[in-house]
């Protein structure tokens, strides 16, 4: 099993507030890895380190350790951030399509990369929307505003937008937190499809979701990685008493 992201002894701080303490794990390629844990445990922060979107928060920095993708430390100062983020896509908790048409939302990442050829754009947009299981619902109104879509559709549009870049890794920060159960189900089905092509890392509050769709699960608590292992094992036979307490619902 090759690993897509290697996290080695990472500590992270916002100014003087230490949020991650010495986290190490290998995220396997072409699988779904779920991060679970109570709010504020650092799971979103860790996820946001993978594409360095934390850079724009003043005072946020990795204080120790390294995060490697294909053996390259992504925190090197000479990293091409734009290219990194093209390779590592991200879907956010609150679906956030741009106030543009459905088509332009998906074409956005290509346009910023300098791709403006109509035929190429058309093809990639169609493929991305198909991969996100949205094509049939929107093919007749590609040029209508993205805000006309339902919440679940908007989130799938955001997924389509992220995979239009053909990334290696897809980061998802509680992608279903703002969705109803039916829309959540659709996204989960989509995840099962997507993991064939992409490595997926998903942060979730919903433990049932983690058991339903992830291959591996990491339980984090107070900025530390408590346990990391195959999902079934972590939920049914946790090694750490804290994990057990959390997954059985006695705390958290």
């Amino acid at each position: 099993m090759t690993s897509a992201i290697q996290i080695q002894n990472v500590s992270f701080a916002y100014n003087t507030k230490q949020v991650l303490h010495d986290v190490s794990m290998d995220i396997p390629a072409h699988q779904i890895t779920a991060f679970i844990g109570p709010s504020g445990c650092g799971k979103s922060t860790l996820l946001r380190c993978f594409n360095r979107i934390n850079d724009r928060i003043p005072g946020a920095r990795i204080t120790a350790g390294s995060i490697k993708v294909h053996d390259i430390d992504i925190n090197r100062s000479d990293i091409d951030l734009q290219e990194l983020r093209r390779q590592i896509g991200m879907v956010f908790q609150k679906y956030n399509p741009f106030a543009k048409s459905i088509y332009e939302n998906v074409a956005f990442s290509l346009r910023v990369a300098g791709q403006n050829k109509r035929a190429t754009l058309d093809e990639i947009v169609e493929n991305a929307l198909k991969s996100a299981a949205l094509w049939d619902e929107v093919k007749d109104r590609l040029h209508a505003s993205a805000f006309g879509l339902s919440g679940g559709q908007q989130q799938r549009l955001c997924i389509a937008r992220a995979i239009a870049n053909q990334p290696e890794i897809l980061l998802m920060d509680e992608p279903c937190a703002a969705l109803d159960p039916l829309a959540t189900l659709k996204i989960e089905e989509l995840l099962m499809e997507l993991k064939k092509k992409y490595t997926i890392v998903i942060v979730t509050h919903n433990m049932a979701q983690a058991t339903r769709c992830s291959d591996k699960t990491a339980f984090m608590y107070l900025g530390k990685l408590i346990e990391f292992g195959p999902t079934m094992q972590l939920f049914e036979n946790p090694k750490d008493p804290q994990t057990e307490a959390y997954v059985t619902g006695t705390f958290g």
Binding site: Q82, G89, A99, S109, F147
Partner: protein, 375 residues
Amino acid sequence: MFDPKKLIRKGLPKGHFKDAAVRSLLAGVTYLVVIIAALLFGKIIVDGAPVLFKAEAPFVDFEFLTAKNETLHVFDDALGNRHQLPAAAYSAYLDKHPGEGIFNEQTFSYSGGGIAGPIVGTALLTIGSMILALFFGICAAIYLSEYAKQSPFIHAVRLAILNLAGIPSIVFGLFGFSVFVLAVPIITSTPADRSLLTFPLFFGNYFVSFQGWNSSLMAGCATLACMILPVIITASEESLRAVPQGFRDASLAMGATRWQTIRKCVLPFSLPGILTSSLLAITRVAGETAPIMFTAAVAAKDDLPWQGLKSPFDLLSSQVQALPYHIYTLAARIPSSEYTQRAQYGSVFVFLVLVAFLSAGSMILRSKLRAKLKW
């Protein structure tokens, strides 16, 4: 013990008279304001509208809008008929009727002809200063909201900009006079004697001379732009901040650079807000007298701004008439009489109509943009 009978009140509700008194006091104050405004506008419309509108087709006296401003000559001819003629028509009359007597002649400065010069001048000042102010204002707002770290220094900068908005316009006028009229550098072949600092350029044929732009259209535009910059910066920054953070996150996460993010995902969505703020600024720029008094405006000018120019640069470096200054001149610097009323009320009325059009136009533009951009 609960007594259901207590639920039914006897007589008037508690505090009935107090409530009624407060209510009528508040209503009275509100309607007083409305009445004052109605009287003000009513007077201007009643006295000013007849100047601009006529009973017969085409119903608008275009001559008042398109004719140059001239001195008004009022006189009786030999038959005792009273004439009111602007200067050019007056000399034509004299040529046409040589030797006939002219009696009881009176002249009224600035009261004859139309107000084309002031209208065009105000338009040029407004356009020029808005271009300057929007450019500088949006640049500063983008820096403050998107790039600058939120340090105490930036906080102080923001506070300073806010405070600028409260400075009286006459102070901006004096500032503009001392800086733009007297001190800013120009490139010239013949530096003036009063130049503060001169150094040669190229091979000595031209000089950079800190001698100011004189009283001119560009000095006026620059001064007006300074006056409204704080308003535009503050409001632009607010509307930039109103763009959801998610847009920026999503754009960056898809591999856009910071500037691409701002250009494609932030600026387009904040434009309606920026335009809204500039709407207020436009009417303020068009209406201010004090900042242009020393920097751009001239009471009398024979040519329209684009007439008699040797180069486009001459347009920027010549003085202009302006509506608010023209109104000030008519109101305060000439003796008022029945013959000056046409020019006085007409100018004010036209001014009001112009401002109303500007506001209405910007509001329509804004609502159209709003309808297009929603989140």
